[in-house]
Amino acid sequence: MNRKERIRRCIAKRAAQELRDGDVVNLGIGIPTLVNDYIPSEITIHLHTENGMLEVGPTPPPDQADPQLINASRQPISELPGASYFDSGLSFAIMRGGHLDATVIGALQVSQTGDLASWAIPGKPILGVGGAMDLVVGAKRVIVATTHQTKEGEPKLLPKCTYPLTARGEVDVLVTEHAVFRFEEGKMILVEIGDHLALEDLKSITPAEYEIHPHLKVVNRWEGLEQVWEDPVEVRG
């Protein structure tokens, strides 16, 4: 597992802990897809995919993959007992109508007021919005799972998004490799920080303004995952 993959898995593992027993959940493309590997064993979640299925099962072995049975990331999936199929109209009625307990979704940028930008970068030839807007506007809890910075080391957590928005003020929880933030009444609150970096280090890579929760947790974010660096400075790069 390379460093990038370890970071992705660290984020996915922590995001999985935000889910609750019995939740019906839609996992977005990218890091959120990995969340399924880290669902705590004591809870059951029910996976929805927006192309029209509930009770999505694990990725099948390649020789059992059915090109007609795929998830929204277009990867082969399997069906669990109690699975159901429905058209995309009912699927988005589930999403937009507030019937999903949670969604875990990626981000390009998140603002301190809970705005999310996840579908377009100005100047890049992006011709797609997909289902993200409906997911974020409809799910009861929106859990963003993203690296703290871009590949180029640019900040993603900003006072205001500069990229086109997916939705305004809908983010409830934001999980990165360094920290966990909650959004309450328009405010961004740091509730957990990795013990691999100091509060000032976090501040220096987080232009968004946030409060620090009085019961801030300091945790080893890499427990169960191979440690990927010693020096928090490397984190910033």
């Binding site: 029910h46 509930l54 109690g82 199929y85 009625a93 109508g97």
Partner: protein, 214 residues
């Protein structure tokens, strides 16, 4: 959340006085009779009922028991008690064309707050509603309907709460399953997860909170 099982009596205890309750069924076909009877035996009052009709042998019992403050539906004429209670000022009535009624419930369950329909444009039922022209034709703006609780009737459920229906007893039930904060489904039988055809499930379990059998 997978659906949980309760008796009819336990289930209707979730309904508070003053709530909006959606009730499935067209005539007696597809009406959740056990839940209707169980609620009749409670002290709940002042309900807003969303139901296509109010048959004497089913929801009419709630009229008799003075539980209904307001009824939203399409056809109450079949029950003289409702007509009488309306004229006596005991029940408020809101009549919608049946297609608008369906669409408003589906919208309520689908995150759509309002929609335009050609139905009722230029009739008495567009009174007080916005009428707007699209491509030269008039349409009425209708608002979504939602309930606090839906009482529905299905044929079989699996353990998770997936539902299939029986013939024309399906009617409004799948729509009402989408449109309330709490959905209570009365079913003939509960079968193990995996025993219903995944292609034939009409109401996925995400919509269903409580299952009631005998």
């Amino acid at each position: 959340m997978a659906a949980i099982r309760k008796t009819a009596e336990e289930a209707v205890r979730l309904i508070r006085s003053g709530s909006t309750v959606m009730v499935g069924g067209f005539g007696l076909s597809g009406a959740p009779m056990r839940l209707i009877d169980a609620l009749e035996r409670t002290e709940v009052r002042g309900l807003t009922v969303v139901s296509d009709n109010i048959e004497r042998q089913s929801l009419g019992k709630w009229v008799q028991a003075g539980k209904i403050k307001r009824a939203i539906g399409t056809y109450f004429t079949t029950n003289p008690d409702v007509v009488e209670a309306y004229h006596a000022g005991q029940i408020e009535v809101e009549l919608l064309p049946q297609g608008t009624f369906c669409e408003a419930i589906r919208a309520g369950g689908s995150g759509i707050p309002a929609f335009y329909t050609p139905t009722a444009a230029g009739t008495d039922l567009d009174k007080g509603k916005e009428v707007r022209y699209f491509d030269g034709r008039p349409y009425v703006l209708e608002r979504a309907l939602r309930g606090d609780v839906s009482l529905i009737r299905a044929h079989k459920a699996d353990e998770l709460g997936n539902l299939v229906y029986y013939k024309t007893a399906r009617n409004f039930n799948p729509l009402m399953a989408m449109a309330s904060d709490c959905v209570i489904a009365e079913v003939d039988e509960i079968v193990p997860a995996g025993s219903l055809d995944p292609e034939a499930i009409v109401t996925p379990h995400v919509f269903v909170d409580i299952l009631v059998t005998e």
